[in-house]
Symmetry: C2
Subunit: 352 residues, 2 copies
């Protein structure tokens, strides 16, 4: 095996790096000017189906912000759209599904994903990106996790408290488990296709799973996350597991089997790392709102993250959730430089 | 000191009880028919200013559901309304403030609270309730915590992610701390008046504080929660501290000094109790959505809470957040009976 040149890939494998690698959720998108110009011409999904343009969207933050990874430009509902589910991205609402899932019959909407036919543009974008990206910059693929996809499919639209999907899960366990089985199969196929097209790391976004208590997570979600990570394990691609408000279910989530646990800002990074175990890497966990703060506040919070990571191999610097649309790109770029410099100094000072 | 007869008061003091006492956040209100009938005649704040009617609203769940406490019928913005802040409860939105706080000058809206003039109806309601309630049923007063009140005052309305209030806190620390000082003073006066009028327990609702990371909580919120609990400490009334999504900041919150920590369903009750320390009592932590589930699911989740509390003195059974409006009162009443019976059996079986 040749030595991996990308700091992010090394960190995901808990190998030593000269500085802490950085990327940001939602870096390919709404905060950057070129993307905004493209969106004036195309709606989201039209844009998302044009590989050359998608590659530009993914490359923009690498050039403009100096991040250590590019992430494929897509939405978590992309594979659902690929198999023909009628889902629309409604401006300032989010994904809206025309026929929410209620019964076993409704599951016929969710046929198997056939990557070459359904999401060829995703694979093509990844191939372009692998050609364009320097070896030092990692290429990240991603998918929405079954629970998070199910919140949209059952509720029909974004929710504040997930009451409907949770009471559905309790009341219709047979439909629920069948739904999760289908979504797991789709997710495995989708991520496998991304890996085969060149994704070097993949992240499973279970953004809303933290609305479940531990017993519900264990019963209704964990088996499917385990199945997905298990299916991808043989491919020598680090797997990242992301959620928000997960401070109470972290230990359980860690048993799903990812290589990297991504935590939000609601828990101190060191406490999170201790609880998931140091045999996994950790990603996070700056509050995205700090990027709207005066620079000294932002830096003090970034320092806090680095101090808690303590230079230990296996930390990927990121936010606790996606960049806010109103974030100034210059602030983001300055933060990347700051984290690179500080983490390098930190290592040189030999912090224990 | 005479022996306290109320199981809830005993539990709040970590004294042994024959069964686990139960109450529910939002029990006085939207799920019950008499309340709904009253709301057809009066808007919320008109109703909230009529002591005889408010007392009926507070007594209804005691009779109908069999809970071990009555809670004053009010909103967290009641004291703000009392001092003349222009805040309206907009149907299916929540509290909307006409002139959000942005500058030091805006703070002139927040004069000191004068209970006899501003919220006499709250004190009068509590006096009626103390006369009407049997000694076995505890009377709970409450207030919104400064941070949670500030989310409405700064954002102007309910928020999904509290971006505006958080970036305000970072950018305008002088205004922020002055705002928190004023809100703390108002809260202390308000809760003191409730205690003097007969409240036997008080709960501080910091419902949205879990959107802050630990460093922000420690810097911008904790000193004020400490100040409030400190000011009320001498009055021999147990103090409950409530928040949601607090699994990552529980230890910090516990240093604010309440007698009872109230946690949501996102953390196992035993893990929470261990982390806050067994020298405080614990309240919670059933997911309100389980009350919409089939009864066997609801009971298995209630059992889980009781099993984790393990019959240890100092557990008050409650939800992790308020009752959902669509909850069937018969299910709530059945749950109260179930928790009483199961917890009594649990004690008799002598679980260790």
């Amino acid at each position: 095996m040749t030595t991996v040149q990308s700091p992010l890939l090394r960190a995901a494998r808990r190998e030593a790096t000269d500085y802490t690698p950085v990327w940001f959720m939602r870096q390919a998108g709404r905060t950057l000017p070129e993307y905004r110009r493209l969106r004036e011409q195309y709606d989201f999904f039209t844009l998302a189906q044009q590989p050359e343009l998608c590659a530009r969207v993914s490359l923009e933050p690498v050039k403009r912000l100096g991040v250590d990874a590019a992430i494929i430009f897509a939405d978590i509902v992309t594979p659902l759209l690929g198999i023909g589910v009628d889902v629309k991205l409604v401006e300032s609402v989010g994904p809206v599904v025309s026929s929410p899932i209620r019964t076993l019959e409704d599951l016929t909407q969710l046929r198997e994903l056939e990557p070459e036919q359904d999401i060829a543009y995703v694979s093509e974008t990844l191939r372009i990106l692998r050609r364009e990206l320097p070896e030092t910059v990692a290429l990240i693929g991603f998918a929405g996790a079954p629970f998070t996809l199910a919140t949209y499919l059952v509720e029909g639209r974004p929710s504040r408290d997930y009451t409907q999907v949770k009471s559905f899960m309790y009341s219709e366990p047979r439909v629920w488990h069948a739904l999760m089985e289908r979504l797991s199969a789709i997710t495995i196929t989708y991520l496998t296709a991304q890996i085969e097209a060149g994704a070097q790391v993949v992240q499973l976004f279970d953004s809303w799973v933290g609305w479940l208590g531990p017993a519900d997570y264990a019963e209704y979600v964990l088996p499917y996350s385990q199945r997905i990570f298990q299916a991808l394990r043989g491919r020598d691609v680090p797997l990242i597991h992301f959620g928000t408000t997960t401070a109470g279910i972290l230990e359980l989530m860690a048993t799903a089997g990812a290589d990297v646990m991504s935590v939000d800002w609601r828990i101190p990074l060191d406490a999170a790392w201790e609880r998931v175990g140091t045999e996994v890497a950790i990603q996070g966990n700056l509050d995205p709102v700090t990027l709207l703060a005066p620079r000294e506040v932002l830096r003090s919070r970034a320092d806090d993250v680095l101090r808690r990571a303590n230079g230990r191999p296996g930390h990927i610097f990121n936010l606790g959730h996606g960049l806010l649309p109103q974030t100034n790109p210059d602030e983001i770029a300055a933060l990347v430089t700051y984290v690179h410099e500080q983490s390098q100094q930190y290592r040189q000072q030999g912090a224990a």
